[in-house]
């Protein structure tokens, strides 16, 4: 195994504390004696990544190969990634199809007709820019299909039973 190799995590037991799971893919960015340092992205949160030291016996090489352009991009900027060594992925606040309520009144929502107290369902719980997609469509008063899906900040929502 060498730097820039793409790998798949086969044994996740020692690394679950970081929030990574079996079969997640990563890239080797440093090679140590019995370990490699691997870059993983959080599959549930687009804003998060981590660097973890992984035992070589816990991973398998993937057949995909990164281009020389990607290697040079990493090589020039590797120190930027070091701040995330051993970063622990945050647990998702919402599950798919959770019923949620908008708990704030903000202009960025109200200009589209969304107001505090509106009820919707999480239709995509992957966090992007600290937001998830919520379906506020409903059968309106006239029994006509109405509403829209919106990207809402996870801090502006609460789960409704």
């Amino acid at each position: 195994m060498k730097k820039y190799d793409l790998i798949c995590l086969k044994n996740d037991s020692p690394y679950k504390k970081y929030g990574v799971e079996r079969n997640i893919h990563g890239m080797i960015i440093d090679v140590l004696q019995n370990h490699v340092q691997v870059l993983f992205f959080n599959p549930r949160n687009n804003d998060e990544f981590t660097l973890i030291n992984v035992n070589k016996s816990d991973i398998a090489l993937d057949k995909e190969v990164v281009s020389e352009n990607i290697k040079s991009l990493l090589g020039e900027n590797i120190e930027k990634l070091k701040s995330r060594e051993n970063y622990i992925f945050t647990s998702p606040k919402f599950k798919l199809f959770d019923k949620v309520e908008l708990i704030v009144e903000k202009e960025k929502y109200s200009k589209f007709g969304l107001h505090k107290g509106y009820i919707g369902f999480v239709i995509d719980n992957i966090v992007i820019n600290n937001s998830v997609e919520v379906d506020f469509t409903d059968l309106g008063k006239n029994r006509l299909y109405d509403g829209e899906t919106f990207s809402i900040s996870i801090d502006d929502l609460k789960i409704v039973k």
Binding site: L6, H25, M27, L39, F41, N46, F49, E64, V66, S67, N69, I70, L73, L74, N77, K80, L81, L96, F97, K99, I119, F121, I123, T137, D138, L139, Y145
Partner: protein
């Protein structure tokens, strides 16, 4: 119906329009496998590459209604000419079937189940509906 019906159309104003297809291209991003595509999208985003451009990479558009190119200052994306035959054989649209099985056809989801029942759709037809929606979304690309 001839092949020209999909390449040449009459628009709302009654003018003849030509559906020239292109593929959006951002370098460094493969089209498949999906995990590799998503990994490299997120990787290059760490170093300043536009996430909107990388998600558009590999997508097919009718040129007259495609997103603006360049999309932003310093945008290096390109458009690659593609034949309609290529688009028709390669284009894919995906929809998580759980949106039907675990959401639309569940009770207490604000009337969505009733909408589909009123249309005559039942759960066992979910897969047929799922396939139809995927096909329709590809056809909608042309309009």
């Amino acid at each position: 119906m001839s092949v020209f019906n999909e390449l040449i159309q009459i628009d709302n104003k009654g003018d003849i329009v030509y559906n020239r297809w292109i593929e959006w291209y951002h370098f460094l991003i493969p089209n498949k496998p999906d995990w590799f595509r998503q990994f490299l999208r997120r990787f290059v985003a760490l170093f300043g590459h536009c996430k909107t451009c990388t998600v558009l990479d590999g997508c097919y558009f009718v040129e007259r209604i495609m997103p603006n190119l360049p999309l932003h200052i310093n945008c290096d994306c390109k458009k690659l000419d593609k034949s309609f035959a290529t688009v028709k054989s390669n284009a894919k649209a995906e929809c998580d079937i759980r949106k039907f099985t675990d959401y639309v056809f569940k009770d207490n989801t604000s009337g969505k189940k009733q909408i589909f029942l009123n249309l005559g759709r039942l759960l066992f037809a979910t897969r047929i509906l799922y396939t139809s929606i995927k096909k329709l979304s590809i056809r909608k690309l042309q309009t």
